[in-house]
Symmetry: C2
């Protein structure tokens, strides 16, 4: 880290973030719990220290030495980029305005910029939110490549309990592309501080108080999704679809999602630290949003994607898995979705966002400012974690995507 | 591992342990929760996978390569030792009869025996129960050696909130030696499956259902301990005393117990994996019993003690800290305690048990069969984890101690 990082202005809130969970014991109003974790400043602490709030399962990195992430010629904190309003500011200032906790840029495999802010540090594991889905998408592709899954088969072929449920008759590929015909139960029916969007998963984890009608675990969560329309007709982003897919993966392999991630990605990549998932009472991972990991380990995943699956001296992800993603999804459906603003002309495939522009952007995205952006054309990987509260569509979605493009273009030269 | 391990008879219960938390989802009666985790076969799974039941905080190992634990000439599974009844059986048979999950013997720094049973594995982190106290005792000694703590000062000197509470007027050394004048609240007043002994800590963690009068966190747990008698007069083993000491350590250093363990022990020892602690709602560690770690990392701690604090190429624990422990505690008080049966002529000091025999045994002990035994005279370290349900005094206390002595004498030759 360069000295600039320490001279940045701290984020200011009515409640100083340094006081959150500080002291032994912390002041009652400074503790993180079900009534405040989704608001600043408590949100940051909650995302950076998720294991202290909920049960978790580790994603073992193995015993090998961490793979190398060499340093290269640097970007600077003063490099001019677009801030959230579109006006040009220094990169460090943009990160502060965009509620970023950690930010890393690699060019041609070398780290050219790395910042940790707001109590985040290289060894801490930040919640990645829906970037978890992209990890799941890759491992699903790898299992299909091994012949263990047929992506054209329906979910109920593998999990008979799903027969008669909204997603049981969807194919695995439809679940990968958010094209099963379902609606979110509870959407707009609960005036919670989170706006109820995806409240179900947080109730399963105990992060929000449970109601009598709350699902008891992620299996129950999947089975309760109401059907709406026909499969394939819409891009309807929802946690239910990856959770249904996770159930299929567990059933077919006899292994937990954490074990699969360890075997297929974390061990081969020789990550710096273990990752971990939030889990429900049955031990099932919050596969659509519960993976926590270090920034550098997220960057390693990006480097593996940039290298067509080759990283750490070996082919980790088969090229075909990434070729399928890069070919993209249905552009017409994407254009109708709320994601088109940040990715005009883009598409969605296997839980990745494709830019289909001259930068060939491949992106994994999670709520609160979690992003992985890979530009094979510019040889650039950008990874960041944030703590921007609020719902999708979030006002930072367009600014994040613009910042990624600007940095990639700058480095492509 | 030698082939013997796989040919051993599995532990038999009415409910097969392989079915605990097996399947996606697991059968309701096979799930681990507040009503069954303390009974076999659920106890084993609960001890081996504690992070899936409660919030936790990691003890970071750092980024260095794991320190070496070389292999040496082997003990054998057929080596004759005393089983629980005192009759001679093969070592592997003894381990099965003594509900052992993992067992390791080092002689002159080399691993001469290593077994993983009942679903335990080298990379899994088993609950160490009260061995956690011994880690706390060592770090307390290290902080005192740096002049950050005065062990002759009272707890309330450092934590003013403890003024007027039963342990506030006890010295840190009295807390280290279990000699504060307190009684266990709730002992025998609750007919729980755990016999209520130390029920308070499990209620704090949510491992047992909370009652209206349950302490809310570990600070509250400490403050509620009722006084009984005068400090120094008895050896009264209780979780309150190390929990009070942990509060002092946090307040004085401004750091969590997990951070202290990482800085003072796990990073210098270059453990194979991170450890982790169960935590309460305030993020406070269950310092008296909540540390989970791998068997090999427990063995590394033992090797460090055997080497007078020197391990991994450096002096990790100052010699004076270990000399103080080896000198022992009050033998007369120990003789009156329930521990004298396993350690006749022994004593207790800084959360370690001293044998004061020709083997110079130093032992850390935890419920359910967790043990670290170090014999500097025999150059032997024995580490094991178990899942023997029940209360102290446990019928296996004497057999475990006897087994340690027999192995040490065998290797001393």
């Amino acid at each position: 880290m360069s000295p600039q990082a320490t001279t940045m202005q701290p984020h200011t809130d009515a409640v100083p973030e340094e006081q959150v969970m500080a002291g032994f014991p912390p002041a009652p109003e400074m503790r993180v719990g079900p009534t405040n974790w989704f608001k600043l400043p408590w949100l940051r602490w909650s995302l950076i220290h998720r294991s202290l709030s909920v049960p978790t399962v580790d994603v073992w990195r193995g015993n090998a030495e961490p793979s190398a992430l060499p340093s290269g010629a640097a970007l600077y904190g003063a490099t001019m980029v677009s801030g959230p309003e579109g006006t040009k500011v220094g990169l460090d200032q943009a990160l502060a305005q965009l509620e970023i906790d950690a930010f890393m840029v690699l060019h041609r495999g070398k780290v050219v910029f790395e910042r940790y802010l707001h109590g985040m540090a290289p060894h801490l594991r930040h919640g990645s939110a829906s970037i978890s889905k992209s990890y799941l998408g890759i491992v699903t592709g790898m299992l299909a490549g091994e012949g263990k899954l047929d992506l054209t088969a329906t979910a109920e072929t593998y999990v008979p309990e799903m027969r008669g449920s909204a997603m049981g008759s969807a194919t695995l590929q439809q679940l990968l592309d958010m094209r099963a015909g379902i609606v979110r139960p509870g959407l707009d029916d609960r005036p919670s501080a989170l706006g109820a969007q995806d409240g179900g998963v947080f109730e399963v984890l105990g992060l929000l108080p449970r109601r009598p009608e709350s699902p008891g675990d992620f299996y129950d969560f999947v089975l309760r999704k109401p059907a709406a329309g026909r499969h394939g007709e819409r891009l309807y982003y929802d946690n239910g679809q990856p959770e249904a897919l996770a159930w299929v993966l567990r059933r077919v392999t006899g292994r937990s999602i954490a074990e699969l991630m360890s075997t297929y990605l974390f061990q081969p990549m020789s990550t710096e630290r273990d990752g971990f998932y939030s889990v429900d009472k049955t031990g099932a991972e919050f596969s659509s949003g519960g993976l926590s990991l270090t920034l550098r380990d997220l960057a390693r995943f990006g480097e593996t994607i940039r290298g067509n699956g080759f990283f750490n001296g070996r082919q980790i992800i088969p090229e075909a898995v990434l070729a399928d993603i890069r070919a993209g999804g249905d552009k017409a459906l994407f254009a109708e979705s709320r994601f088109a603003a940040a990715y005009p002309g883009g598409s969605y495939r296997n839980y990745f966002y494709l830019s289909h522009d001259h930068l060939q952007g491949i992106s994994a995205q999670g709520r609160y400012g979690q992003r992985l952006y890979v530009s094979p054309a510019a040889d650039v990987v950008i990874a960041h974690f944030g703590a921007a509260p609020g719902q999708s569509p979030h006002p930072f979605e367009v600014p994040y995507a613009r910042l990624h493009r600007e940095i990639a273009e700058l480095l492509m030269g």
